[in-house]
């Protein structure tokens, strides 16, 4: 293990550049937009998605469901579950010191 933070002279990685992260995010936004557009086209043209439930045919059902589910998941975890269950890291017993942990080997 060589935790070396003095590597300012190395070239930043692809994902460390703001403009590249922005590219990824733009791709995500475009993808989301396209999927909703496809759903709307399916709805207008009456393309049969062979749904089990009628609401699966509604445009954007899965998009909204996925988005709302994740926002709910995070907010409930953060504001309800965490205050209930979070304890100190050594709540059950004093953990071993980090440097005693197995790992951090560089040999192949």
């Amino acid at each position: 293990m060589k935790p070396d933070s003095s590597n300012s002279d190395e070239t930043p990685g692809w994902f460390d550049r703001k403009e590249n992260v922005q590219k990824v995010l733009t791709g995500l936004f475009i993808g989301c937009g396209l999927l909703v557009l496809i759903d709307v086209i399916f709805w207008i043209t009456g393309f049969d998605k062979h749904p089990y439930f009628r609401w699966e045919q509604w445009p954007g059902f899965y998009a909204v469901y996925g988005f709302v589910a994740c926002v709910l998941l995070v907010l409930v975890s953060k504001y309800i579950l965490r205050p209930l269950v979070m304890r100190d890291e050594n709540y059950y017993e004093e953990k071993e010191k980090r440097d005693q942990m197995k790992g951090g080997s560089d040999d192949v």
């Binding site: 293990m1 060589k2 935790p3 070396d4 933070s5 590597n7 990685g13 994902f15 460390d16 995010l25 995500l28 936004f29 993808g31 989301c32 999927l35 909703v36 496809i38 759903d39 399916f42 393309f47 998605k49 062979h50 749904p51 089990y52 439930f53 699966e56 954007g60 059902f61 899965y62 998009a63 909204v64 469901y65 996925g66 988005f67 589910a69 994740c70 926002v71 998941l73 995070v74 907010l75 975890s77 953060k78 579950l81 965490r82 269950v85 979070m86 304890r87 890291e89 709540y91 059950y92 071993e96 980090r98 440097d99 005693q100 197995k102 790992g103 951090g104 080997s105 560089d106 192949v108």
Partner: protein, 599 residues
């Protein structure tokens, strides 16, 4: 063609021999065992093999049918990947534990009767405990002990269930069991403990993150999946399983969102995925049971892949917490790619393995048409979005991207990369061509399923991309829960923190009882018994003699003197012979009287 032998025998024998070998020989031998297992697998034909008579029972070590063979297939494949992953360290304990564990799991799936099943079921626990101990840290030692306690308890429940089931006239055959009566319920619960059901399953998230980096691959593969297999064989279509599965699929993902240790996040998502399989068993239709088997198959591959990638990170950096990692994509690019493939598979992206198996269970649930199954379908859909969120994004993001932790390390060792590469290849291959490889192996061959319809693919992408969108927006808005070094209590609280409480109870109740017993037995009873044997006879004689002395006109002081004199004589054994003879005669008379009365 050669004759196949019980797969468990190959692995258990291998596990026993490993410690006697050294160096390169041990490495070659350890890798040869799973290869031999694969070869042996191809030689097993459908039908019942290897029966042994024990007492009145016919033990069946090999029931090969479509149900067991698909599990045997993936168990064998995974044993090779797992052994390959740990082969560079060449540690006898790790290798033996992995082989023992794999062999036991194969013993369970090939078992044709409940007694054989129980035998291998207990061996599984031994394998798992060794896998945890292989980490060789104090925390691992404690975790292994907790694991052992929970699973011995589960084993006893299962054994009690089997015995009550047999005593009640139940068959020893390992087949469908009606869930009625104490025996069946205990068997059900015994299986459920290994399946990590809510309230009885927190051993999983408690102990898996403490295991060795190789051991956890075997643990993530064998224990819960054998439990799913035995549930599918014994209790298919049991409604209770629907709700249990739903709880398993949904509750752990909330925990996963706020968990800091990445291997514990994987443990939560493991329970979440097993929840899908349990729902499949609960639905009990041909398609849902196929879905369960298929999902177990795919899940083993991508879960092992995810654990391997985080394992390699631990191997190189010694860290597994989100707070301490990040930015590793530059140091470990291959590991990062493999982790992303595992993440895409567990999230069920089209063309990755999870997509072709999970959707079978979802479709089976949707197709039932009752309000209960519709509710469960909606919950599973929620869990599908959630699993992408907490496992699919969180694991690669915090380990390999996120902020740069400053850690610069080497890429994972070659053997680990090959092991991950094989698993990653299978994830993509099975996901892209399910009909070439996976679907023909499924138990109910009469059902056909088509995962790749236009609607299904676009819907799945919409669900996943919008989950990613939610993650991004919450991150940007600062609403995503910060990773905090912490412990989140679960039902394991019951056995981990109840210690002091139980101690007080036992102190008061048990020690109280001991004190009472001490006073009663030693202080009162023993003392009096001693007194009786020491001077009882003389006292008795004195009581008889006192009226005689009184009649002779003796007063209080004289009587006391007489008593003391009598005691002295008695203690010395100097009682006149005439008196002794008289007593003996009286005794004989009494005995005769008793004898007569008895007649």
């Amino acid at each position: 063609m050669f004759e196949a032998i019980p797969p468990a025998a190959i692995y258990l024998l291998g596990a026993l021999l490993i410690p006697f070998l050294k160096g390169r020989t041990r490495q070659v031998f350890a890798l040869a065992i799973p290869l031999l297992g694969l070869l042996n697998y191809t030689a097993i034909t459908e039908g019942v093999h290897w029966t042994v008579s024990l007492l009145d029972f016919e033990l069946i070590l090999g029931r090969a049918d479509r149900w067991s063979m698909i599990y045997l297939n993936i168990f064998t494949v995974l044993s090779f990947i797992g052994i390959l992953y740990i082969i560079n360290d060449n540690k006898a304990l790790d290798l033996s534990a992995g082989l023992l564990y794999a062999g036991s799991a194969m013993g369970v799936v090939m078992a044709g009767d409940l007694l054989t099943l129980f035998f291998f079921w207990e061996m599984l626990t031994l394998g798992a405990v060794l896998c945890i101990l292989a980490r060789k840290t104090k925390d691992a030692g404690k975790a292994a002990y907790r694991y052992l306690l929970v699973h011995v308890f589960g084993g006893v429940i299962l054994l009690a269930g089997i015995l009550i089931h047999l005593a009640g006239g139940g068959s020893v055959a390992f087949d469908k069991i009606e869930l009625s009566g104490l025996g069946a319920w205990l068997i059900f619960l015994g299986f459920g403990i290994n399946c990590a059901w809510p309230l009885v399953g927190s051993w999983l998230t408690d102990t898996y993150p403490e295991a060795s980096i190789g051991g956890v691959i075997f643990m993530a593969t064998y224990t819960t999946k054998t439990a799913v297999y035995v549930l599918a064989r014994t209790f298919p279509g049991e409604d209770t399983l629907l709700w249990i599965g739903m709880a398993m699929a949904t509750i752990p993902i909330f925990y996963a969102v706020i968990e800091n240790d990445l291997r514990r996040v994987l443990a939560y998502s493991l329970i979440n995925q097993v929840g899908f399989m349990v729902v499949g068993v609960g639905l009990g239709t041909a398609m849902s049971l196929n879905g369960t088997a298929a999902h177990a198959y795919c899940h083993i591959l991508y879960k092992a892949l995810l654990f391997m990638s985080i394992g390699s990170v631990i191997y190189r950096t010694g860290k597994s917490k989100a707070t301490e990692l990040g930015g590793l994509y530059r140091s470990m690019p291959w590991t990062c790619v493999f982790c992303c493939i595992g993440a895409a598979s567990i999230s069920a992206f089209p063309f990755f393995s999870g997509f072709v198996s999970k959707s079978m269970i979802m479709s089976a649930a949707a197709g039932m048409g009752t309000w209960q199954t519709t509710l469960i379908w909606a919950a599973l859909l929620f869990a599908s979005a959630g699993v992408f969120h907490h496992a699919g994004i969180k694991i690669p993001f915090f380990a390999f991207f996120s902020h740069d932790s400053g850690i610069r390390c080497k890429e994972a060792p070659l053997n680990q990369l090959i092991a991950m590469g094989i698993a990653a290849f299978l994830c993509v291959f099975v996901g892209t061509f399910p009909k070439m490889f996976l679907y023909p192996m499924l138990p109910n061959s009469e059902v056909s399923y088509e995962p790749y319809t236009v609607g299904h693919v676009t819907d799945q992408y919409a669900l996943l991309l919008f989950s990613a969108l939610a993650f991004t927006l919450l991150m940007r808005a600062g609403l995503y829960p910060a990773e905090i070094r912490s412990t989140n209590v679960d039902a394991d609280y019951l056995y981990r923190r109840s210690g002091p409480f139980l101690y007080r109870i036992f102190d008061k109740v048990l020690n109280g009882a001991i004190r009472l017993a001490s006073v009663l037995f030693i202080g009162v009873i023993a003392k009096n018994v001693c007194n009786f044997f020491e001077s009882g006879a003389s006292r008795l004689a004195c009581w008889v003699l006192t009226p005689v002395w009184v009649m002779q006109g003796a007063d209080g002081k004289q009587i006391e003197d007489n008593r003391q004199a009598f005691f002295r004589i008695a203690r010395k054994g100097a009682i006149p012979i005439g008196l002794t003879a008289f007593c003996a005669v009286v005794m004989l008379g009494l005995l005769s009287l008793i004898f007569l009365l008895e007649k």
